[in-house]
């Protein structure tokens, strides 16, 4: 190659700049000039053909002032290569020169040591390499060789770094020297030099210190808590193992500050609701309020894909969690990204935070077989305290008397025809059973240095607490493969996950029968169903089957162009199918209804998502500075198909599966497509782990917006100052081992308005008018754009007593504007609303506290405490013309978005027992116009604390979660107008003039109960503190396990939801009167062969 001319030189430099090489050079110079003040430049200029290594290294020595030690004399003289360097950095020169030779180098305090490359394996020992007093060795972590591990000699202060294959070489080593190994995410290790024989095999253990925990960021980036500028919370697999629900997200409850986890239902497969730092959008659609979920790099469908909801489901809409297809045991880590710094890389989809789920990968080495077997018993922990037969009948009689209603056989069968003494506790009768869940998980892992694999499968069989119906069955299988080429340059990681489940459990919700009269009989004397009132047994004759298939795959290919420059491409494909069958036979329909006939519904839903993400990352270290840069792009194509067949008028219950036997069939079919395209970059700078700066920029385009308003820019800036690096602090406040001040600000977005919404959509009629017709469903508005969420955060992180006690406090304030709402329009326009950006502003702000402490750390006894506490609130700051919008009864300026509306309750009139509510508009009539905001359903604070104790091989964990200060409605009180039993709360009712009480009188007047139930009187504080989890485990020693042929054996007992302290009168403060969280007892064993 000839020396480039002047013009080419510019191009050449420019290209180098793109590689980061020139940047590195400039910074090197700056560093040398400003910081290092070395007398020599660390750059080399040398152009020569057929130069010997001796010639080259002599030149290097002259130009840089570095000494060169060469361990292989023959090569030193014989090897000839062409060199062409103009002002190239020293390390780049060395890498180039030695690239094709069996040599490697170590830079050691102004000395370049060139040595033969060492093979990693001990059996490949190089006999040539025992010729000096130096030390060679390899450093491995749990997943193989570790490169870049810092090896410092304690006495001399000399520092080395391990090479790509984990090997290191120390030229001279005194016997009294101590080697200190340190690496991000790993425990520090010290070794005495004396007695060490080359090659040494060093194994580093992953750390348990909170500060050194590795946090996964976007696109495979990692950081330690120590060095991060953003707000993230990691949930380890150890925590996930403590939940027994099929949805792995359930384990997050109370574990992370700023993350509110609500369990609406304890039914099998029910979805858990997750809110990261509050509700940011006025859009009431749950999908617009969900965080972004990424599973192994692929975006994951976050809301239920089921079309048909549960039979008799009264509360909680999402009963079919898509996350149940991810086996909690297969998850290595869940990372929750909260602030702008952490989320802005996901740009337009990150307004509600991001949840990254990473599955476990093979560790290589000898084949190991791991098995987890779990068995769980579950029970409903609490029942509503309902009236007994006498109390119930008395209420009905008294109500009729009070209201002057005549008691007849037709209107009061419970008082006239039914047994007056029979008593059934319907709650216990219907869901008093103990349900069992079995979960088995088997995986094989192993591999060579180049290929590692994990092949796993699991099966879950979850029964219900009902006395009929199957339950939930999940089978899943997965294969994770990792490959790296011998030179570590080419890497590939593949994940395949397939899960199939069938859920036939959810046929009935407690809300539909907990209030059956205690003297009711399900069956008539002739054995037929008693239809005097709605009979819940009818639901048991129905079929509701939901089957899901989920295929998730990802391939990540990386190539190391330069030692610190990686290019990667990630390909992801996700296919979820949900099929549902609902059968309502004639036998389940009240025979007195007009011409009862059977009907059935069939659903086929499929969502396919393809993701392509190329990206490149570059790390450059010089002196005390580290730069890193990430640049990349995203392409997502998401398609969904939904088909619903509703078949009516079956005259024969045996034909319900046969659509052709239906009297009529309606079809509804929808298709949606979403495409998303973006480019992003993230640049980070770290000076001496003291000053850290991160900048993220992203440009997103979404097909959900009209062409003219399709693209948007998002950004964030994050900075951290680790002030404990200051020497004076180190000296004067030695108890403070770590102190960091950090902050971030940025802009993220939300494009969740539904696909094709900016077109005028023509929908097919759900039934025929002779033929199938089309009709327009919305008004034309192509102008709307992203919701914009500006996130700000400030945090202080402190570590005390050598990081045995870590404390973090965050303050955040997110302001979400440009709100995408269904802007209300007068009906004369033909529609009630149009999708439009509104100048409304929503603020979420709060304080988050996290404490992690090692209280005791003795050899045999350890006690760790983890606690978090969040004070969070939201506020509607601006909303133009709120009063005239359809949101006027949903939101109020200056107040929370989670308002509960109702009448202003003035109490029970002591004179006549009537419910008194305020006539706000003073017009003499009480109606919904008189509603006021009564309070928020958002807790004022929430959190959790965990104590874990370990004694020798025993470990005990005790975890509490709590929530304070939100309002929830409990049970609709109907004091006597309908054939419904009531909670014993009502026994406190008003009875005689002058009586002061809080319970309305028995009455058949429904306006009374309407006023009462729609007022503050019927809202209860659903604060609680829950003993969520107690776990006890015993880890057998290798020796003990070995005696029964195992490598490891771990036995444990879990008890979940043992105790809930709450004033809430429903079944559960979280689920109301739908199926509560179950109390569970679990026995499990984990073993490795």
């Amino acid at each position: 190659m000839t020396k480039p001319n002047q013009t080419d030189q510019h191009l050449f430099n420019f290209l180098k700049l793109l590689h980061g090489a020139n940047l590195r050079l400039i910074l090197t110079i700056a560093c040398l000039a400003g910081v290092c003040s070395s007398g020599f430049a660390q750059q080399v200029t040398l152009v020569q053909k057929n130069a010997t290594l001796k010639q080259i290294f002599t030149a290097i020595q002259k130009q840089t002032g570095y000494d060169v030690v060469f361990s292989s004399n023959d090569l030193y003289r014989s090897e000839k290569i062409n060199v062409d360097f103009v002002n190239v950095g020293l390390e780049a020169v060395l890498q180039q020169v030695l690239k094709d030779l069996p040599l490697t180098y170590v830079l050691e305090n102004k000395t370049i040591i060139v040595q033969k490359k060492k093979k990693v394996k001990e059996q490949d020992k190089d006999p040539d390499f025992t010729n000096n007093d130096g030390l060679t060795g390899t450093i491995k972590g749990e997943n193989g060789p570790l490169s870049g591990v810092s090896v410092v000699l304690k006495k001399t202060g000399k520092a080395y770094r391990s090479a790509e294959d984990g090997s290191f070489y120390i030229a001279a080593l005194a016997d009294d020297e101590v080697l200190m190994f340190s690496y991000i995410g790993y425990e520090k290790l010290e070794l005495r030099a004396k007695g060490l024989v080359s090659p040494v095999s060093v194994r580093l253990k992953q750390v348990s210190s909170v500060l050194e925990e590795v946090h996964v960021l976007a696109y495979g980036e990692k950081t330690s808590k120590r060095n991060s500028t953003g707000s993230t919370v990691g949930i380890s697999s150890a925590i996930l193992e403590k939940s027994t629900m099929a949805d792995p997200l359930a384990a997050l409850q109370g574990r992370a500050a700023g993350v509110l986890v609500t369990m609406n239902s304890g039914l099998p497969g029910a979805q858990v609701k997750i809110q990261i730092r509050g509700v940011n959008t006025l859009n009431l659609d749950g999908r617009a309020r969900n965080p972004l979920y990424i599973v192994d790099g692929v975006p994951f469908v976050s809301s239920s894909m089921a079309t048909l909801s549960n039979i008799g489901q009264t509360y909680g809409s999402s009963f079919d969690s898509p996350f149940k297809s991810i086996d909690p045991a297969s998850i290595a880590n869940i990372e929750i990204l909260k602030d702008a710094d952490a989320t802005a890389i996901y740009g337009a989809r990150a307004a509600n935070g991001v949840v990254l789920i990473t599955t476990k990968r093979g560790k290589g080495g000898k084949l190991s077989v791991n098995a987890d077997i779990v068995h769980t018993l579950a029970k409903v922990p609490n029942f509503v305290d309902m009236m007994n037969t006498e109390e119930y009948l008395n209420m009905r009689r008294q109500a009729a008397l009070n209201s002057g209603v005549e008691i007849t056989e037709s209107s009061y069968p419970d008082l006239t025809k039914w047994s007056q003494t029979k008593y059934t506790n319907w709650q216990k009768a219907f869901f008093g059973k103990t349900a069992s869940t079995s979960n088995a998980e088997l995986n094989l892992s192993g591999g060579t240095d180049q290929i590692r694999f994990m092949l796993g499968g699991g099966y879950r069989d979850e029964k219900t607490v009902y006395n009929y119906k199957d339950g939930l069955k999940i089978a899943n299988g997965r294969l994770n493969l990792d490959y790296n080429s011998k030179d570590q340059k080419l890497t590939a990681a593949m994940s395949l996950n397939y899960a199939s489940d069938r859920n036939s459990a959810i046929a009935l919700d407690p809300g539909s029968f907990y209030n059956l009269p205690p003297n009711f009989s399900l069956y008539n004397e002739d054995g037929s169903l008693n239809w005097t009132i709605n009979n819940p047994m009818a639901a048991s004759l129905k079929t509701m089957m939901t089957k899901s298939k989920n295929f998730n795959s990802n391939l990540l290919i990386g190539y190391k162009v330069l030692p610190d420059l990686n290019i990667k491409a990630s390909l992801g494909y996700n296919d979820i199918q949900v099929d549902q069958t609902m059968l309502n036979p004639i036998a389940s329909i009240n025979p007195s209804s007009y011409n009862p006939m059977g009907n059935a519904s069939f659903v086929n839903n499929e969502n396919k998502s393809f993701t392509f993400e190329p990206h490149a990352d570059y790390v450059f270290r010089t002196g005390k500075s580290t730069f890193n840069a990430l640049i990349g792009g995203t392409y997502i194509d998401n398609k969904s198909d939904n088909l619903l067949l509703s078949a009516f008028r079956f005259d024969d219950d045996t034909k319900l599966h046969d659509i052709s036997a239906a009297g009529a069939v309606d079809t509804s079919q929808t298709q949606n497509q979403y495409r998303f395209l973006s480019a992003f970059t993230r640049v980070g700078y770290n000076y001496n782990s003291e000053y850290i700066l991160n900048f993220t920029l992203r440009r997103d385009g979404s097909s959900r917006f009209a062409p003219a308003s399709r693209f948007g820019n998002f950004y964030s800036i994050g900075a951290a100052w680790i002030f404990t690096q200051q020497p004076w602090l180190k000296d004067n406040f030695s108890f403070l081992s770590f102190g960091k001040l950090r902050g971030s600000y940025g802009l993220t977005g939300n494009d969740n308005v539904g696909d094709f919404a900016y077109y005028v959509n023509y929908m097919k009629t759900y039934s025929k008018y002779q033929n199938v017709g089309l009709y327009p469903t919305n008004l034309f508005n192509p102008g709307y754009q992203w919701e914009k969420n500006r996130k700000m955060e400030l945090a202080l992180e402190l570590g005390f007593m050598e990081d045995q006690l870590n404390f973090t406090v965050n303050y955040y304030r997110n302001r979400s504007g440009n709100q995408l709402v269904s802007y209300p329009l007068p009906g004369q326009t033909g529609q009630s609303s149009v999708v439009e950006n509104l100048d409304a502003l929503v603020q979420n702000s709060g304080w988050e506290f996290t404490l992690n402490a090692t209280v005791l750390n003795k050899t045999d006894f350890k006690w760790k405490l983890d606690a978090n506490l969040t004070f969070a609130g939201n506020k509607l700051l601006e909303f133009p013309n709120l009063a005239s919008s359809s949101y006027s009864n949903t939101y109020e300026i200056g107040k929370s978005l989670n308002l509960q509306w109702g009448f202003d309750y003035l109490g029970i009139n002591p004179e006549n027992g009537k419910v008194m509510v305020r006539d706000i508009d003073g017009n003499g009539t009480i109606n919904t116009d008189d509603f006021i905001a009564l309070g928020s359903s958002l807790p004022s604070f929430y959190g959790g604390f965990n104590n874990s104790f370990s004694y020798k091989r025993f470990e005990l964990g005790v975890f509490f979660s709590f929530k304070k200060g939100s309002l929830g409605s409990a049970v609709f009180l109907d004091p006597g107008s309908a054939i419904n039993n009531q909670p014993r709360l009502l026994l406190n009712r008003w009875q005689v003039p002058g009586q002061v009480t809080d319970m309305l009188a028995y009455t058949t007047d429904r306006t009374e109960s309407y006023y009462f139930n729609s007022s503050r009187a019927a809202l209860y504080d659903n604060s609680y503190i829950r003993l969520s989890n107690v776990s006890l485990s015993y880890d057998f020693s290798k020796k003990q396990a070995g005696t029964i042929g195992m490598k490891n054996l771990h036995l444990y007992v879990l008890a979940n939801n043992l105790l809930t302290i709450s004033k809430y009168p429903g079944l559960d403060p979280e689920s109301g009167i739908s199926m509560p969280l179950l109390r569970t007892l679990t026995l499990g064993l984990k073993t490795t062969f």
């Binding site: 290209l15 949606n672 023509y762 929908m763 089309l774 009709y775 004369q828």
Partner: protein
């Protein structure tokens, strides 16, 4: 550094650049199933689907499928809440005490304007389409204008002055104030005259479930009657009645409630001028017989109720009304009785039928002092019900009283005919004060403008009597 890394760099650069340039194309996603306006109005067939969709929306809206006839029946003296009624809404309707915040009539406003929006979208859509034939454009526009006129007819009669919206541009129409009913009627006439001139003799499809020329004429006859243009009302109704090949009065067979089979309300009956095709069950007939069964009863006030108005021997007393003895203590609507007969519906909800044309002509003729021919028309209706002839020697006023009574009986439960007639004739206060003493106030003649509408469009003013 060697330049052999150049290819990677270039590839990366080219990759990124080409990504960014093809961005716009990649994001142009066209729906496959969901039709855009462009797709919906691409050809004659697709445009006809939208017309079908318009009829579907009308036939399946709450207002037009059942609630309007029910509600107006409660407002007048036809219906009363059933003894086991759980609907507070119907009680308020019956007591003529509507709350603009949540009156049942609120959906009549919004659903009517939704129909008008669809009609406007069709009119605009076919006009802008290059792919639809001229004949197709004319047919679609005419059917759309017929439906628009039909919806405005009920809007203007139920609410009085209403905003007049004839396009889909919401940015303008959102602020329209109420327009005088004279102007609204002018638009109704324009639409119907266009439909009459453009629609064909035959129905566009099988049966009588879409508008043809005669449907437009029948509606025109009614509109002219309401506008007191007796001559044109007589002319249009005469034209319809004269088309005996298509339209004949159905026979009322059967002599008692048990075996009576009414063939007037059958699907495609000879008397039908316009019916709603239906297989979904959301129809007046279905509701009258099933889920709403307990919510209403036929008004049996011994003096002023509907039942009291039937003469002895009137077959309609048991053919149109299910007697209390057969219906569990309270009389029910009985014009439809074959609901849910799998697999085909045999009864369609009646919208326009020939009997009304006779009654329109009778009134128009009487108004024009042609009592003799007016009585002939009345007798056609009476004879079918098993009643004797009225004397041709009646005075004009006596004849008009009989026309009003026959309308009340013949068209009971159909589209609030009773309520609209009382208003049109100016008899409302007098009749209602007798039928509902103490409850009635004159301002209840018009339903309230929904409260949210007034909040969202400050140019709208509420009807008197509602705050």
């Amino acid at each position: 550094m060697r330049l052999n890394k150049l290819p990677y760099t270039l590839a990366l650069l080219i990759g990124l650049t080409s990504l960014s340039t093809s961005c716009k194309k990649l994001l142009d996603v066209e729906p496959e199933l969901i039709k855009t306006s462009k797709q919906a109005f691409s050809n004659d067939r697709s445009a006809d689907s939208v017309v079908v969709g318009m009829y579907f929306k009308m036939a399946n809206s709450y207002a037009y499928s059942m609630e309007m006839p029910f509600s107006m029946g409660f407002s007048s003296d036809e219906l009363k809440p059933g003894k086991d009624s759980f609907s507070l809404g119907y009680t308020y309707m019956f007591k003529n005490n509507l709350d603009p915040a949540d009156a049942m009539t609120n959906s009549f406003w919004t659903e009517s304007y939704n129909l008008i929006f669809i009609a406007n979208a069709i009119i605009e859509g076919v006009a802008a389409s290059p792919g639809i034939s001229d004949a197709g454009k004319l047919k679609c526009t005419a059917e759309a204008r017929f439906i628009r006129a039909f919806a405005y007819f009920y809007l203007v009669n139920l609410f009085g002055d209403v905003p007049l919206v004839t396009n889909t541009d919401y940015k303008k129409s959102a602020l329209f104030p109420r327009q005088s009913s004279t102007l609204v009627y002018q638009q109704i006439l324009e639409d119907l005259l266009m439909a009459e001139a453009s629609l064909t003799d035959n129905y566009p499809t099988e049966g009588r479930v879409r508008a043809n020329k005669w449907t437009a004429k029948a509606m025109l006859a009614r509109v002219y009657l309401y506008l007191k243009d007796w001559e044109k009302a007589e002319l249009r109704s005469s034209e319809v009645i004269a088309n005996a090949q298509k339209y004949r009065l159905g026979e009322m067979t059967g002599t008692n409630a048990a075996d009576a089979v009414m063939n007037i309300f059958y699907a495609n009956s000879e008397e039908a001028i316009f019916q709603f095709w239906n297989n979904t069950g959301t129809s007046l007939g279905y509701s009258a017989l099933t889920e709403y069964y307990n919510n209403y009863a036929v008004n049996d006030d011994p003096e002023y109720g509907l039942l009291a108005a039937f003469e002895p021997g009137d077959k309609r007393a048991f053919n149109y009304v299910m007697p209390a003895t057969a219906a569990g203590g309270e009389s029910r609507i009985y014009k439809y009785r074959l609901i849910n007969e799998s697999p085909d519906y045999k009864e369609f909800t009646m919208v326009l039928r020939l009997a009304e044309q006779y009654l329109i002509r009778a009134e128009a003729r009487a108004m024009r002092d042609q009592v003799g021919t007016a009585v002939e028309d009345l007798n056609k209706i009476r004879n079918r019900a098993g009643l004797n002839d009225l004397a041709a020697s009646m005075t004009r006023e006596e004849t008009l009283i009989h026309v009003e009574k026959e309308r009340r009986l013949e068209l009971c439960f159909e589209w609030g005919d009773r309520w609209l007639n009382l208003k049109r004739l100016g008899h409302l206060d007098q009749v209602m004060n007798l039928a509902k003493p103490g409850l009635w106030t004159s301002t209840a003649a018009f339903y309230p403008v929904p409260r949210t509408e007034i909040l969202l469009n400050t140019n709208l003013k509420q009807n008197p009597g509602y705050n």
